[in-house]
């Protein structure tokens, strides 16, 4: 049985169909990619799953349970973590404080939560920066903190919205290792990513959407060679003669 099922989900803003009847299903343990051109509705779909928006139509089924329209904090308690495209650290607080907020979901005892937070920070190579204020971190460290904080809530599934945008190539490679490491702990990953090299190398399955609608889903190899996907990214004129190697 699928861990997460998105069934015919639509989200309309006024007359705009930001997400239009998208269906997909994610198996436990997968790294699942969601790609599409800018403005395709990827983040909106994420927000529907994470509870930020209630879908206009359709259903979100998690682990056999209908969680359509649940609030973000209740979704988090279902053990679905999430990171934001534009990282949102608690700037005026330390790295440890940030992670502790996440870890408080399992315990109300502060020192227990701090221990748990510290454990996660070490895994993300932030252990020695625990006392640094979040606003003084580099972009790469902020992204890592964003992931660590979400992991501190001890999720079964992680929704990651462009966690690699703005990173240098070597930092992208590091992040990919982190993702594989997270997966090896049994966490299912559902991610949006624009860096094709990254998402192609790490995903088990990918869904492509454009103008709010699903174009196709398949393995990275299938997606990269699909004419509709190439058209979506590069425009009509490239569709016929493309070599099937989508890069940016």
């Amino acid at each position: 049985m699928a861990l997460l099922e998105v069934r015919n989900v639509s989200k309309h803003f006024g007359g705009l169909k930001a997400v239009d009847e998208v269906t997909l299903s994610i198996e436990k343990g997968q790294i699942y990619g969601l790609i599409g051109p800018n403005g395709a509705g990827k983040s909106t779909l994420f927000n529907c799953v994470a509870g930020t928006y209630a879908p206009t139509m359709g259903a979100i089924i998690y682990d056999g349970r209908d969680v359509t329209g649940w609030k973000p904090w209740d979704i988090c308690k279902l053990r679905i973590g999430r990171t934001f495209q534009i990282v949102k650290p608690f700037q005026s607080r330390t790295v440890l404080y940030n992670a502790t907020v996440g870890a408080f979901i399992r315990t109300s005892n502060r020192s227990e939560a701090e221990d748990r937070a510290m454990e996660v920070l070490r895994k993300f190579h932030l252990g020695d920066k625990a006392g640094v204020l979040a606003k003084n971190l580099t972009i790469a460290d902020r992204k890592r903190l964003e992931m660590a904080r979400a992991m501190a809530t001890d999720p079964e599934m992680l929704l990651m919205d462009e966690c690699m945008a703005g990173l240098r190539p070597n930092e992208v490679d590091e992040t990919l290792d982190v993702l594989r490491e997270i997966r090896s702990q049994g966490v299912t990953i559902f991610m949006i990513e624009h860096i094709m090299r990254a998402i192609m190398s790490v995903s088990d399955k990918i869904t492509v959407i454009q103008f709010g609608r699903k174009i196709m889903d398949g393995t990275p190899g299938e997606v990269a060679n699909d004419e509709r996907v190439i058209k979506a990214y590069l425009g009509e004129s490239y569709g016929a003669g493309g070599d099937g190697n989508v890069t940016a």
Partner: protein
């Protein structure tokens, strides 16, 4: 940290102890009731701003109607004392409870609003309560006298049970103790899960929600606690002045002064309200004593100017630079090994 770390710590503790001893012994050598009164009002404002800070600082919103809860505390305990003979020591808890309920009811719809909209709606509620009180002579069986206000019936001599004293000294210790307790509560609260959740939700609501925090619920909780404690300060003010009226105790400038003190001292910090009150209270007392007839309200103009300067140069309030200066001073003193003045 540095080499003289234990020594530094000793000096730090000694300085703080000396400060505590100094503050607690002021009435022993300071006999002028005028100056004691100024200090009492200073502590009262530090107290009220600390309770304001639970919402205004940690929850990241700007309440501008907190005088309503000061008034609820003062009116409730006084009315209960006059008509039922209930001691203000008991009446103040009734006032606090009513204030907490009102605060929660006002908080539930308004705390969902952002920034200026929340500030405006609390202002409107505060003013609404003032106008309501000014136009009500009789509330059920209780007389509240509308705009003329009420006086607490004066009993002869010191009367502990009636919360009335002929000297300023007992008031001084009561408010000092209340201030210490409320600072401790704030410090303790900020280290619990609700405290973390409140601060997180105040700073980045979306991120906090994704981490499992029902942000609105914690803000409402903070509002309830804040209003409860604010009302206790209201009863104190009533017993100190023994007479109050809506324009004074429910007025907008009262609410503004609390916000000014917090913003200038340092919003969301534990020492901020005390530092702010220490700086601003003398200004408002002195302008009130010397200029109230010629330039009433001048203190608010001065506050405004100070606020502009602070926001330009120290946007996080004056606590930050003061803390830095204090640490520098400690480093110097513990490093040089000479003359430890306390």
């Amino acid at each position: 940290m540095n080499s003289g770390s234990t020594k530094r710590k000793t000096i730090d503790t000694m300085l703080k102890l000396a400060l505590a001893v100094f503050v607690f012994t002021i009435p022993v050598w300071l006999s002028s009731p005028t100056y004691l009164q100024i200090l009492i009002m200073l502590f009262l404002f530090a107290y009220l701003t600390t309770t304001w800070n639970l919402v205004g600082g940690f929850a990241g919103v700007l309440p501008l109607g907190h005088s309503a809860y000061v008034g609820i505390g003062a009116y409730t305990s006084t009315v209960l004392f006059i008509s039922l003979g209930v001691s203000p020591w008991i009446g103040m808890w009734a006032g606090a409870l009513i204030a907490a309920v009102v605060g929660v009811f006002i908080g539930i719809p308004t705390l969902k609003l952002r920034g200026a909209y929340f500030a405006l709606s609390t202002m409107a509620f505060g003013e609404g309560i003032r106008v309501l009180v000014e136009n009500t002579m009789q509330l059920g069986p209780f007389t509240i006298n509308g705009p003329r206000g009420i006086s607490v019936p004066l009993l002869p001599g010191n009367n502990l049970l009636a919360y009335q004293f002929t000297s300023k000294v007992p008031y001084y210790y009561i408010i000092l103790l209340m201030l210490c307790v409320v600072i401790f509560i704030t410090w303790w609260f900020s280290r619990t899960r609700p405290g973390y959740y409140l601060a997180a939700g105040g700073e980045e609501p979306e991120a906090a929600q994704a981490l499992g925090v029902n942000v609105a619920r914690y803000k409402v909780l903070a509002m309830g606690i804040s209003c409860f404690l604010t009302a206790l300060g209201g009863t104190f003010l009533a017993q100190l002045t023994l007479y109050f009226y809506p324009k004074q105790i429910l007025g907008l400038d009262f609410s503004f002064e609390l916000a000014f003190i917090a913003l200038i001292g340092g919003r969301g910090t534990i020492a901020g309200p005390v530092v702010g009150a220490l700086l601003l209270r003398p200004v408002s007392e002195l302008t009130r004593i010397y200029l109230s007839s010629t330039l009433p309200g001048l203190h608010l103009v001065i506050f405004g100017l100070v606020l502009i300067l602070v926001m330009l140069f120290q946007p996080r309030g004056l606590v930050e630079p003061l803390e830095r200066a204090y640490n520098w001073f400690l480093d110097r003193i513990s490093g040089e090994r000479k003359e430890v003045k306390s």
